[in-house]
């Protein structure tokens, strides 16, 4: 007997809850380290981050690592060289 898993007749699904959160933090091989003392708060890193991990803290920017995939765009674009990519630690 076929057991159904969805309540819907057709391929509908509710968009309200988070259906599937992909833990993209695991994808990193390198991680950005933000040197706040060099930050000029220009916001370029915040604008460039493709996944929205860079946070604007009001007077400086830093990163929320829960989704950061280590692409390195922030480090490359920072005009003050305030961001360095370092090898991800293996636990």
């Amino acid at each position: 007997m076929v057991q159904y898993k969805s309540e819907y007749e057709g391929p509908w699904a509710s968009a309200k809850p988070v259906l599937f959160a992909y833990p993209t933090a695991d994808w990193r091989a390198v991680r950005p380290v933000f040197n706040t003392s060099r930050c000029g708060h220009c916001g370029i890193c915040y604008l460039q981050c493709p996944v929205g991990s860079v946070q604007d803290r009001g007077t400086y920017c830093d990163v929320d690592l829960s989704y950061c995939k280590g692409c390195g765009l922030c480090a490359r674009e920072c005009p003050n060289e305030a961001i360095k990519m370092v090898r991800e630690e293996n636990k």
Partner: protein, 401 residues
Amino acid sequence: MTTRITPRVEQVRVFDGNRACAYGVLLCKPDLVSCVPITPMTPMVEAVWQYVADGRLDAELVAADGEINALSYCIGASSAGARTFIGTASQGLGYMYEAYLKTAGNRLPVVMALATRENAAPDGVVSSHQDFVTARDAGWIQIVCEGVQEILDTMIMAYRLAEHPEILLPVNVCFDGYYLSYLTERVELPYQEDVDAFLAPLAQYDRPRLCLEDPLTVPTNTREELFAEWRHKHVVAQQKSKKKFEDIEEEYREAFGRSYGGQIEEYYTDDAEIVMVSMGSQTGAIKDVVDSRREKGEKIGAIRIRLFRPYPRERLLEALRGKKAVGVVDRNVIFGWQSGVNFFEIKAAIQDLPENIPVTGFIVGIGGTDCSLEMVERAVDITKLAAEGKPHQEITWLNIE
């Protein structure tokens, strides 16, 4: 007319299904290539375009803005006598459906590669046989491949079949998306001169084409008796293509050393009591299970349906005569019966046998899922129940129950 070629191999390479198909296109030298990329055949399009860019293939390249336009270019070119090639999958086939009907109705020998994929909706860029099964009654010849070498070989045979004056029908060369299109295998590449020689007999034939010297019109706007006449000729040609396909394959075997059994491939069916029938790459798993069951003394065999349209009715009738049960493994569904297409067609085909052979149906691979050895083992066990006259489920969806 036999071509005097002896089997020889130019190189042994590793190709995936897409590249083998593209190489087949290269060898057949079409005049016009018209493709819109679509997963899972995009690398095939890219390979063909690269051949043209590198000067290895002298073909007119059309980067159409949509599959219906892509196939329409082929219709135009083929009507003018050109050899054409196009490739697509699921939604692309859906988008070109109007042109797809016209190609067959106008009796144009276009060859189309299909890297088979689920039709949306539900949306899923995944493998199954649903696309060409849905389009099965548009009048195209449909051949379904099991392995990558077969894709390359079938591309060459497809042109030989399509362009024959007794046939003049478009041909789909179908191979599983992902499970063949992205699967890399050892492939033996034939010599270009040998393929040229194999296709050379087609040059002696003239087919109707648009030209200034002898103005013809196609299609003509028709009704009643003339319409029926052309439909009749079409269905007759479809049926003729069965024997023609086997003749061409026999010639191919003599010339290149490889063949796949013709309309159907029979695997240990002679003394089998139970036969499992399928098409496409999952037949490999079925053959492996046949081998392991035979080691245990069970009399089991397998049939792979290679020519899907037209349907190999007569060959199946012969092959299934006297069997105790038939298990049909479908990688598709039809909406007429609650089954896959081959279950339905085999039930119809074996009606003419004196025995009342029970047929069990299995749905596998829907939504890109695998057809594993364990699933095949379950299918064989259920078919055995049918052979023994015991109660069993008629249709089983192997990946969700």
